[in-house]
């Protein structure tokens, strides 16, 4: 392995040398024409991400930048997360990483990637920090060793289990098409009513059950809606899969299938095809994130007028909160990039108020500055979704922010199967009959695996313990602001 690296380094220098020579040659040709003495080498920024809906917005930023800096071109490739992960792996080993890329497909926590020399810091980190809302950047999340490596684009105030419904079907079932159902019972009744009125062709609820990972997120959101703090209880640091809310969430979803309200082909649908079938009018309700309306508007335009949204339902109408950790950085500059200054300069364009308004208008994930949504032209359901987020989502503490070694533990942990989504999938398919036992088993295995990983990391001389997951100062109904990280230790 070492041999390969040594040779590669030599080759790289050779390539660099020839590029410099070529640049010099170009200089000789350009200078007389432009009459500018400064060295104007062609700068190409290679950019990879998964944000297909945001491409027009980003392209306009790159075009504007190129008008002011004609020597810079941005070469953009869009991937879906799976493929990008593999592509990044292979690009990393062959020294062909793009200049700027997102983390889609990379499950390894960012602190680990930084430790393995994947990225370099922004060259205008301080300036960017000044432009962002207070507390957007955290050491261990986007700041490492005091340097800013990346910054968030999206707000943490969002969840993936909004109840998107077909307003026509909702109304004909006797429910308010503007607000929709808000409790589990109402949801169940609405689903049943829509199914009954549907005469075997239309069902109350459709979901992409094939996509186990997403299904797990929905179960998690519903459990939080039922009062769970999330997968980890920050007052004790323990995993919570074996607590009541998770079992109740699964029970609730299963009841919909037992009622016959679940669109039968759901078990074969993933998120995309589930959404597509929903848009054809064969089902009333569909859980999805805020980006749903953006996708509908782009791909299934005729359906846009029928889209309504309701919050994630709660068991009985109580006020519960959903928690997300601080937003992570989206775009990172790779350590192999030769133009960090230009890349940083371009990235700075992604922190302006106009950018946030532009983001809001694309209706993908909500922008870091939620107030931008009010100034943007968006579909009413998107505006409502943002409003719902503001009411119900709170900032959770991040163990990594307190102790970066936590990410080492996370990287050491092996996946446990079946995980939450797979258990839910098995419940729907009838393969898992005792889901409480399955959840308990998952919980026990995850606890054991984390303990083992902690031991391994401690064995390497790193300071980390289970206490890093405990935050005594945490209040479920409040944001856990950066200032609170020092309290109550």
């Amino acid at each position: 392995m070492t041999n390969v690296n040594r040779t590669t380094l030599n080759r790289r220098r050779l390539v660099q040398g020839s590029t410099a020579a070529a640049g010099g040659f170009a200089l000789v040709r350009i200078a007389p024409r432009a009459g500018i003495a400064a060295a104007q080498e062609e700068v190409k920024i290679v950019w990879w991400d998964q944000f297909l809906p945001l491409e027009p917005l980003h392209q306009s930023i790159w075009d504007r930048y190129q008008e002011e800096h004609p020597e810079v071109t941005v070469e953009y490739t869009v991937y879906n997360p799976q493929e990008q992960g593999q592509a990044l792996q292979l690009a990393f080993t062959s020294d062909q990483l793009p200049d700027v890329h997102s983390l889609a497909g990379l499950g390894v926590p960012p602190p680990q990637l930084v430790a393995q020399n994947w990225f370099q810091p922004l060259s205008n980190g301080d300036a960017i920090q000044g432009k962002l809302p207070e507390g957007s950047l955290l050491e261990g999340v986007t700041i490492f060793d005091g340097e800013v490596y990346s910054f968030p684009l999206f707000s943490f105030r969002q969840y993936t289990t909004l109840n998107w419904f077909n307003k026509e079907l909702m109304e004909s079932a006797g429910f308010d098409p503007e607000t929709g159902p808000t409790t589990w019972d109402e949801f169940r009744q609405a689903a049943k009513a829509i199914t009954d009125a549907g005469d075997g062709r239309i069902y109350g609820w459709i979901q992409g059950l094939n996509f186990a990972a997403r299904l797990g997120v929905h179960v998690d959101d519903l459990a939080q809606s039922a009062g769970a703090p999330g997968a980890i209880d920050f007052t004790t640091g323990a995993y919570t899969y074996d607590t009541e809310p998770y079992a109740q969430a699964i029970e609730f979803l299963l009841s919909l299938q037992e009622d016959g309200s679940l669109f039968p082909a759901s078990s074969t649908l993933d998120a995309r095809t589930g959404r597509a079938r929903w848009a054809t009018g064969v089902a009333g309700m569909f859980f999805d994130g805020p980006w749903n309306i953006g996708v509908i508007q782009k791909e299934f335009e005729d359906f846009t007028g029928k889209v309504g949204v309701a919050p994630v339902p709660t068991p009985g109408g109580e006020e519960t909160f959903l928690h997300n950790g601080p937003s992570g950085g989206v775009f990172w500059i790779s350590s192999q990039s030769e133009h960090p200054d230009v890349a940083s300069d371009i990235l700075a364009q992604f922190t302006t108020p106009e950018y946030y308004v532009g983001l809001a208008e694309r209706m993908d994930q909500p922008p870091l500055d939620l107030s931008a949504v009010e100034q943007a032209e968006v579909h009413p359901s998107y505006a409502r979704a943002i409003q719902l987020f503001t009411e119900r989502v709170r900032l959770a503490p991040s163990p990594t922010a307190r102790n970066p070694a936590v990410s080492q533990v996370q990287a050491e942990m092996k996946d446990i199967h079946p995980d939450l989504g797979e258990i839910a999938q098995g419940v729907f398919s009838g393969d898992v009959t005792d889901y409480r036992a399955a959840l308990k088993s998952l919980n026990d295995q995850m606890t054991a695996e984390r303990d083992r990983a902690i031991e391994v990391v401690q064995g390497e001389g790193v300071e980390v313990s289970i206490d890093d997951w405990v935050f005594p100062a945490w209040q479920p109904a409040e944001d856990f602001t950066p200032g609170m990280y020092g309290q109550g230790d």
Partner: protein, 286 residues
């Protein structure tokens, strides 16, 4: 499925037998063809209609703009050229090297033959795993990354044991008399191969060509990984990336792109069909 019974030497019932066969095959063909027809019809609908109309084949409005979008967004003109170059190169290399190998394996004993056969047989059972990383590193050392040649070699150099096996099987069935006659006429080793054996293996060459064409045309990872720094060298299959993002798929665009990229393969297959039917019957007579 019943084989039609055709009593000998009476013409009428034989043609009834044939008609029955043709009918059976027509039904099978329709079932087999249906998804392809669906793909073509999807390329002429908009995304919503694709899902609303389910299995209906006739589009409501014929959305030719999908093709325009596929052509532009997926960079079809340039990508198609790349695909053609890479696929043609790969087919040539595969046919040549596998025919040569199959020929000697089939008809000669030589020192080391057992080793060669053993290695082939052992390696075909190992699932093609993450060989891509090793291939990439090797190509990087040789300076073959981001070149057409690098992609061609990576796709045609390894694997294709099927082609070798087919050629071996085929060449071993060719009677010795043909070869002996040629040698008596003064043909060299190479001439025997080129002028007698290879032409007789027409059907295998056609088979190998079509299948290699297909797998190379649709190859995604190798062309992707070899063109990170030169996206202008990308192939059609990689170009299809443009239709799938994180949450959404441009269904109608993807269908149009898929149809466009399938046409060459279908045409190639139809064209090569007659080579599937050349026999060695005539050769033995002479």
């Amino acid at each position: 499925m019943n084989r039609p019974f055709s009593p000998p030497s009476i013409h009428k019932p034989r043609s009834i037998g044939l008609t029955l066969q043709a009918l059976a095959l027509a039904v099978i063909s329709l079932v087999w063809m249906y998804p392809f027809l669906w793909l073509v019809s999807a390329s002429l609908k908009d995304s919503l209609e694709i899902f609303v109309s389910g299995l209906d084949l006739i589009p409501a409005d014929w959305q030719w703009n999908n093709y325009a979008r596929a052509w532009n967004d997926a960079g079809f003109g340039r990508y198609m050229l790349n695909s053609i170059v890479i696929t043609t190169g790969s087919v040539l290399i595969v046919v040549v090297r596998c025919a040569l190998t199959g020929y000697v394996l089939a008809r000669y004993n030589f020192i080391g033959k057992r080793v060669v056969v053993g290695i082939f047989l052992a390696t075909i059972f190992i699932p093609a795993g993450y060989t891509i990383i090793a291939v990439m590193e090797l190509s990087q050392e040789l300076g073959l990354l981001n070149t057409h040649l690098g992609i061609i070699l990576a796709l045609s150099g390894g694997g294709h044991v099927a082609a070798v096996l087919l050629y071996t099987g085929y060449f071993s069935r060719i009677p010795r008399e043909l070869e002996e006659a040629a040698v008596l006429d003064g043909a060299s080793f190479f001439q025997v191969f080129r002028s007698i054996m290879l032409p007789l293996a027409g059907p295998v060459t056609a088979t190998v060509s079509v299948l290699t064409f297909l797998s190379t045309w649709n190859a995604f990872f190798v062309p992707l990984v070899f063109t990170f720094s030169r996206p202008d060298l990308r192939t059609l299959a990689v170009g299809m990336l443009a239709f799938r993002g994180e949450h959404s798929t441009d269904w109608s665009g993807a269908a149009a792109a898929a149809t466009l990229s399938l046409i060459p393969v279908v045409l190639l297959f139809m064209f090569l069909q007659r080579y599937f039917l050349e026999g060695i019957a005539g050769a033995v007579k002479s």
